[in-house]
């Protein structure tokens, strides 16, 4: 079976973001960019399924600027077979991303789409669910573990109260949570090999999708700052202070 893995290029997990002085957004100049960590987990899961012989081909898709090809290369180095780069500048909302992915799914006919539950830049947590609805497929979001058969996927999901397991008919969309697996580091030989793997270049227009944003971002500001308080010397003093503050 074929698996499609959408991956997003985002500011690296470890970078402390800075809001631009003109409030137009977050400063992306000279900032380290990486694959969205949840998408790395998605690639890893697909590669493990391929290693187990359950999956025949893994296609990594990224929608973004030309540099998103580096994100696809990372997926290829981890074990994906080929890539599709849909070149688009600026902010691409989850709705547009889902429409492009739907068109790709219509053409490629994967049995499973695995992607991150959210991107760590816009924190939207929408794309997988939107894609599943557009395709008329089932979904297993916030996946903690996966048991895949030829016709269905049993997915344990991280929910507010604990874990919930659903059985979803294939084809389906799965979105990954943190505990699904621990992504591998690509080895040097695999990074070299990945350079020879094909990446097809497309545009949203190729799929008949208008990727213009529908929401208007009026401004981006810094959150209210908390400043450091005081250091207390003992447990007893801590409890006194909490009592004074009415916290206990």
């Amino acid at each position: 079976m074929k698996v499609l893995v959408p991956v997003k290029r985002v500011i690296d997990y470890n970078v402390k973001v800075r809001v631009k002085a003109d409030q137009s957004g977050v400063d992306l100049a000279n900032v380290k960019m990486s694959m969205n960590p949840f998408d790395e987990i998605a690639v890893e899961e697909a590669v493990r399924l391929k290693e187990k012989g359950k999956v025949s081909e893994i296609i990594a898709v990224s929608i973004g600027p030309a540099q998103a090809s580096e994100t696809i290369r990372t997926a290829l180095a981890m074990g994906a077979d080929r890539g599709i780069l849909v070149k688009a500048e600026g902010e691409i909302e989850p709705l547009a991303v889902a429409k492009i992915l739907k068109a790709i799914c219509d053409a490629e006919k994967p049995m499973l789409v695995i992607t991150g539950k959210q991107a760590i830049d816009d924190d939207s947590n929408q794309t997988g669910q939107m894609l599943a609805a557009m395709l008329g497929w089932g979904q297993g979001t916030f996946a903690h573990s996966l048991e895949l058969s030829e016709t269905s996927a049993k997915i344990a999901r991280e929910i507010d109260g604990g874990l919930q397991t659903v059985e979803v008919k294939l084809p389906a969309v799965m979105t990954t949570d943190l505990r699904l697996n621990e992504p591998r580091y690509a080895s040097l030989p695999n990074i070299m090999k990945a350079k020879k793997k094909p990446i097809e270049e497309k545009t949203p227009a190729d799929y008949g999708v208008d990727a213009a944003p529908r929401l208007k971002v009026l401004k981006v500001t810094e959150p209210a700052k908390r400043s450091a308080g005081i250091k207390v010397k003992s447990v007893s003093e801590l409890l006194d202070k909490l009592k004074e503050a009415g916290a206990i």
């Binding site: 973001v17 609805a133 959150p223």
Partner: protein
């Protein structure tokens, strides 16, 4: 036109997140209706009818909605969507699961996890784990919104909404509920507790979380954890506070053995009072804590337990 809120519940009782989402809905524009979808959930509808400002409850009581499976919720919500300008759900794992499907089918963008309603079409929402706040304006047409419940006050009691039955929609049959393993706890729920005590990697083991449990019992607090503690297997995933776990804003947040990664701070920095115990005086958690105690938690926690006992907690 009206605004619809999708209720969060467990078929027995109404989750507080619903009344908080109603507060956001009233700011977007009334009248506000609440959809209660579940199985044997009449008591939930009765509770929702008492929220002040709610005019009507739509009750879809059917086995199909027992677990609010996203694929079944989608056609149900769509069956009434025409009547509403805006549809809001709490940004719980349940709301996050079904609402984007509704937005996709209506071909409108979803606005996720709003923190504030600036005007009926303009909202504040966190991006980059809350390290930046985006002010976003919806286009004309229907608005589909998830609400970070901790950012809104609970709507008062005192309403008397009418309850109307809503027929179940067809079962798309894409998926079915298999089983669940829910954490059992006598303690208050993490996202609505007045006091939250969280442990991090510094605890060293799941067994050592008992030191936190003891204090939580004395203070009627909920127990949370950092991602590191969950990843290490000390406690289950539903304890996680942070960017990708739960967002809490209690009266008091006590962080024990938590260094304070930005992803963790994203989940608790709106707490009213933050206290931290850590043996590393340079831990980032101290930069945002109102009260910091540099100490070995294995001494500090038992001492706190005794001290609280002495003070009659």
């Amino acid at each position: 036109m009206a605004t619809l809120v999708i209720a969060e519940h467990d078929n027995k009782s109404l989750n507080d997140a619903t009344a908080k989402t109603v507060t956001a809905a009233l700011a977007v524009g009334g009248p506000v209706h609440v959809l209660v979808a579940g199985d044997g959930c009449k008591a939930v509808a009765d509770a929702a009818a008492k929220i002040a400002g709610v005019e009507k409850i739509l009750l879809a009581d059917n086995a199909l909605y027992a677990k609010m499976i996203a694929e079944a919720m989608e056609p149900l919500i769509l069956s009434v969507a025409d009547k509403y300008d805006a549809i809001l759900a709490p940004a719980t794992t349940s709301g996050k699961n079904y609402l984007p499907r509704v937005a996709a089918k209506l071909d409108v963008p979803q606005i996720s996890e709003i923190l504030k309603v600036i005007s009926p079409d303009t909202f504040e929402r966190p991006i980059y784990a809350g390290n930046a706040i985006q002010t976003v304006q919806a286009a004309a047409g229907k608005k589909i919104i998830t609400v970070r419940a901790t950012a809104f006050a609970k709507a008062a009691d005192g309403g008397s909404a009418t309850i109307e039955n809503l027929a179940a929609a067809a079962d798309p049959g894409f998926s079915k509920f298999d089983s669940e393993a829910l954490s059992k706890s006598e303690r208050p729920e993490l996202t609505s507790a007045k006091i939250v005590i969280s442990g991090g990697r510094g605890l060293g083991s799941g067994e050592n979380f008992k030191l936190i449990d003891k204090i939580a019992d004395r203070l009627h607090a909920a127990v949370g954890a950092s991602r590191a503690a969950v990843d290490a297997g000390y406690v289950p995933n539903d304890y996680q506070v942070g960017q990708t776990g739960k967002v809490v804003a209690p009266e008091l947040y006590l962080a024990v053995g938590i260094s304070g990664a930005i992803q963790h701070l994203a989940g608790m920095k709106d707490s009213k009072v933050i206290a931290a115990i850590n043996k590393d005086e340079d831990a980032p958690i101290f930069q945002i804590a109102d009260y910091g105690l540099v100490a070995d938690l294995f001494q500090a926690l038992p001492e706190m337990d005794q001290e609280l006992a002495k003070r009659g907690y």
